[in-house]
């Protein structure tokens, strides 16, 4: 809120400098975000403006008086009030639902939406431009000058915090104000020339003909003040914050609704009428000819709360005596009866103070947070530690970084078009997305279903910057629109079990579970080029990444996480090259996919060369991962090596992993390892679509050096097995 300094000083007498005052307010809970040296548009006035930022619980600070009152309480200087008093207002006609004074009748039909409605008639006014002092004040506060009468009501809004409205009384049918809920479908043309369709959640001010103003938000166009207006009816009412907010959220807010939502003092209606009347009589003439009306449905008495001084100290960690606390609360406008506990009467402009704990906060604020000495809690005795899963997740990231990949972060929000662009599988399950109902833009309208689309985009962005060497990984959450039970699994301090998923299906029962999507942690990576491509002493064909480079990284990560049962199976996936794609499995479960990005996807992203990528379920990986390592004694006797090559058809049936398994099966108890070390295709030598795969076999015994006879025997068994049982030709 803009607080002109000269205005504030009318009600605050203090020795403090402006800077000291700002510091006091900021440290007292009303942040002064800055100053403005304001000059009127016509150059006729200058002013220093304090720019305050008011927290949503402190509607009482949304006025000049409110700021003066708070500053006075904090400094102990106190503050003053505008002196405006009229007998017609002081002795207003009070009634619980309907009152009449002369030609004016006020009736509250909706006491929930409007617990209090005060009104005052001023006759014989002369509507015209405002005097300079009024115009400048409003301009400094950021309010457009309309005419002298409207400006006076706005002046009161700013000064006291009570929103007001001025009706041209002649246009109120029968002079009868009715505060009620709008009829379904009732329409109202507002001051800003917009037609609004209203309904029973909206509180309106009406006359017997229909709505004339939208309560607490904006007046109607038909009954507004005009130059010809001679009789004004001033409205000064108290509206329910929730009712006003419901309407303002739908139709948009105003200075008035902003204040009502944050609670206006219900006992401010009459002082505001008096102040407005004083200003109007000064600037527009006229006379008060009737008693004011004050229809109030409750008595709005101050609230009584008790506070135990001992409890206050126990919460704050302070050692204040009860008298000091009482003095602090009195400075805030409370009436305090000392004793055990303190009996506190809270002024009605502080509806946020309802409980003992609220008074504790007030004591802390007046005492000054900076005057509370910090203590290090003795409660911090246990040792904090990451859980196993948290440590494993960190380790997974470390392993990928050790493999040369940089950690990337991308947004959780994406859109369906991104899935088209990367040829994401088109089946219904893959394409079902968690959609936002109020996205910022269509590009960010859904929660990501996978990490790779964003990594592809990152690769593309790098390529556009002529960075051809990309190596990125990301660990992040993806979202599936299934309703799930037991969402809190990530909270548990033990590794999560399998998250039970209730498939959305068509009409799956919601059950006990919260209505939330399924979240899964994934790990994904993309690689393209290499830092060594173009290196002066490495041939490019050896420098770039390829399928096996990335596979090696996946293997490295899995090994580092203690996973030994990871395997790779040829796979088809729309995002990947049909011949260079593998499903990564752990035992029976599919972890995800890896391979070379399909050429058409690479083209869609304008990638300069082949890219390699994987995306795996980190949740599944970590379920079986472990950081425990058992030492294996070092072997004492030397190993023996034997090589062997087979000629096989170039087919998945004779994959390296299968042949190695066959060899291991036949190799006997001393066979320690089987590793393919050469793959070679030569149509002339082996026939078309055949290739040679050479394996290195390592034999070793625990207790002795193996003899040539033993080795020859084992190799003969392997040969026989391969030729007779597997049906491959062993090269001689």
């Amino acid at each position: 809120m803009r607080v002109p300094y000269s205005w504030l000083k009318e009600y605050l007498q203090t020795e403090l400098s402006l800077a000291e005052l700002c510091h006091l307010l900021t440290m007292g809970g009303l942040e002064v975000e800055g100053f403005e040296e304001w000059t009127a548009q016509d150059g006729g006035a200058t002013e220093q403006i304090l720019m305050t930022s008011v927290t949503p619980n402190r509607g009482d600070l949304l006025s000049i008086i409110g700021v003066a009152r708070h500053a006075g309480a904090l400094s102990g200087d106190g503050h003053s009030q505008p002196a405006s008093s009229f007998p017609e207002v002081d002795e207003a006609l009070i009634d619980a639902n309907k009152a009449t004074a002369g030609p004016v009748t006020v009736e509250i039909v909706d006491p929930i939406g409007c617990p209090r409605y005060s009104a005052l008639l001023i006759e014989g006014i002369d509507v015209g431009p405002s005097p300079d002092w009024l115009r400048y004040r409003l301009e400094a506060a950021g309010i457009r000058s309309i005419n002298n009468v409207v400006d006076c009501t706005n002046y009161v809004v700013w000064e006291l915090g009570q929103p007001m409205h001025a009706f041209d009384f002649r246009l109120i049918k029968d002079g009868h104000i009715i505060v009620r809920r709008a009829e379904p479908g009732e329409k109202l043309l507002l001051l800003d020339d917009t037609w609004q369709m209203l309904g029973p959640e909206d509180v309106v001010i009406a006359d017997p003909m229909g709505a004339v103003a939208l309560a607490g938000i904006m007046g109607g166009a038909d009954t507004q003040m005009r130059e010809v207006t001679t009789t004004v009816l001033l409205e000064s009412a108290h509206f329910d914050p929730v009712a006003i907010r419901r309407t303002s959220l739908r139709l948009g807010g105003t200075q008035a609704s902003y204040r009502f939502e944050r609670h206006v003092d219900p006992n401010l209606t009459l002082p505001a009428l008096a102040r407005a009347a004083q200003l109007i009589l000064e600037t527009a003439g006229g006379a008060i000819t009737q008693r004011a009306l004050d229809v109030k449905t409750a008595d709005f008495a101050p609230q009584a709360i008790e506070m135990r001084p001992q409890r206050c100290n126990a919460i704050l960690g302070t050692d204040l005596d009860a008298a000091t606390m009482a003095a602090y609360l009195r400075r805030l406008g409370c009436q305090v009866e000392e004793g055990e506990p303190l009996a506190v009467c809270v002024p009605t402009f502080r509806p946020d103070i309802e409980r003992e704990i609220d008074l504790v906060e007030e004591v802390a604020i007046v005492h000054g947070y900076e005057n509370i000495s910090p203590t290090v809690p003795g409660h911090l005795v246990a040792s904090g530690r990451l859980t196993e899963v948290q440590r494993l997740r960190r380790r997974a990231g470390e392993l990928l970084r050790e493999c040369g990949l940089h950690e990337n972060l991308s947004f959780s929000m994406t859109c369906a078009a991104e899935l088209d662009r990367c040829c994401f599988p088109s089946d219904a399950t893959s394409r079902s997305l968690v959609l936002l109902s109020n996205p910022i833009s269509t590009e960010l309208s859904a929660m990501r279903r996978a990490l790779l689309p964003a990594l592809l985009e990152a690769a593309a962005r790098n390529a556009r910057q002529r960075v051809a060497d990309v190596a990125l990984y990301e660990i992040g959450t993806v979202f599936h629109p299934q309703k799930i039970v037991g969402q809190a699994s990530r909270l548990s301090t033990t590794p999560p079990g399998e998250t039970p998923v209730v498939p959305n299906g068509d009409e799956a029962p919601l059950g006990e579970g919260p209505d939330l999507p399924h979240e899964q942690q994934r790990v994904a990576a993309i690689m393209m080029g290499s830092p060594l491509v173009g290196h002066w002493n490495l041939p490019d064909e050896q420098a770039g990444v390829d399928f096996y480079y990335l596979k090696g990284i996946v293997e490295q990560m899995c090994t580092g996480l203690g996973l030994t049962r990871v395997s790779f199976v040829r796979y088809e996936h729309s995002m990947f090259h049909p011949g260079k794609c593998a499903e990564v499995t752990l035992g029976e479960r599919s972890l995800g996919v890896m391979g070379e990005i399909a050429p058409e996807v690479g083209e869609a992203y304008d990638l300069p060369g082949p890219a390699y990528a994987f995306e795996l379920s980190l949740d599944m990986l970590l379920e079986q991962a472990t950081l425990q390592r058992a030492y294996r004694p070092l072997r004492r006797y030397p190993a023996a090596e034997r090589d062997l090559a087979v000629i096989v058809p170039d087919s998945d049936d004779f994959s390296a992993v299968r042949l190695a398994a066959e060899i291991a099966q036949a190799g006997g108890q001393f066979l320690e390892s089987v590793t393919p070390f050469d793959v070679y295709a030569d149509a002339e030598q082996f026939g078309a679509e055949h290739k040679s795969i050479a394996f290195r076999l390592i034999f070793r015994a625990e207790d002795r050096t193996l003899t040539d006879d033993e080795l020859d025997g084992a190799m003969a068994e392997v040969h026989r097995h391969l030729e007779e049982r597997v049906g491959t030709e062993v090269r001689k």
Binding site: P241, P377, P531
Partner: protein, 337 residues
Amino acid sequence: MDDKLEQLRQQAVETFQAAADEEQLEQARIEYLGRHGQLREIMKDLGSVSPELRPALGKLANQVSREVEQAFAQRQEQIAAQVASQEAEAIDVTLPGRAPRVGKQHPLLATLEEMIEIFLGLGFTVVEGPDVENYYYSFEALNYPELHPAMDEQMTFYISDNALLRSQTSPVQIRVMEQQQPPVRIVAPGRCFRRDTVDATHCHTFYQLEGLLVDEGVTFADLKGTLEVFAREMFGPQCHMRFRPDFFPFTEPSAEIALTCIICGGEGCRVCGNTGWLEVGGSGMVDPNVLAGVGYDTETYTGYAFGVGVERLAMLRHGIDDIRLFYTGDMRFLQQF
């Protein structure tokens, strides 16, 4: 005498062979062939030998002398050849090396990890909650009154009436307290979302670190003390913390947390808006309504909670001037840290 000569010959030849370079060889030459070398010394002794043995010994001595000189010459040649051949293998050591790439941690997550380490050291454990939260945990259990303007500040993304992207990590407090009795001592890192327009200092996606301590006798002064330890550990002893009143529905009293501006050291600069302080988060004593809502006895237990933004700390640590850089995936950015 024969034996002595023979011994000398053997020693000399072995020493020449063992010489690794010209310098060592020269040392050996002086030792055996020099003017005061062992060979000359032994020759002097020839005079004291009986005359009948002298011719034979003299012959032997000459032969030994020749052989030793030959051995020297031979080794000298070998060493010279070796030097020449290694020189031929010389490379240009100024050409660039072939460095294996080491991946870097994202600066945002590195900062978050460091923050977590500090709280682990203070005895906190780490828990995580879902990114998509329900209305109850996001607002109701956190003591947000129905239709309260405080919700405006959250600028929440909704998926449905009941499912939304969490705008702060505070819902984790409730999830944890529902599952356990005090003492509770947790930090909860995580991604949060607000419908904020993206510019150099704002983004719809950001990270927070939430903290919660509930036990008997926890005070507001403890909250200050804990956060001051954090500030000092994170930014050094010259970093101070400022506490001032603020409002959050789920804490009472509530406090804004600001740290000494790291850029100007508190003198006032553009980054801190000339205040010398940088706001980094919110905190306060857990509101009794929140504690009662999870079934805790509010007379026995009190607690504090805080939430600290990660982006700002990471930007200050590294002098990053645009928050959008965190999400570009730009290799030139990521490899700097």
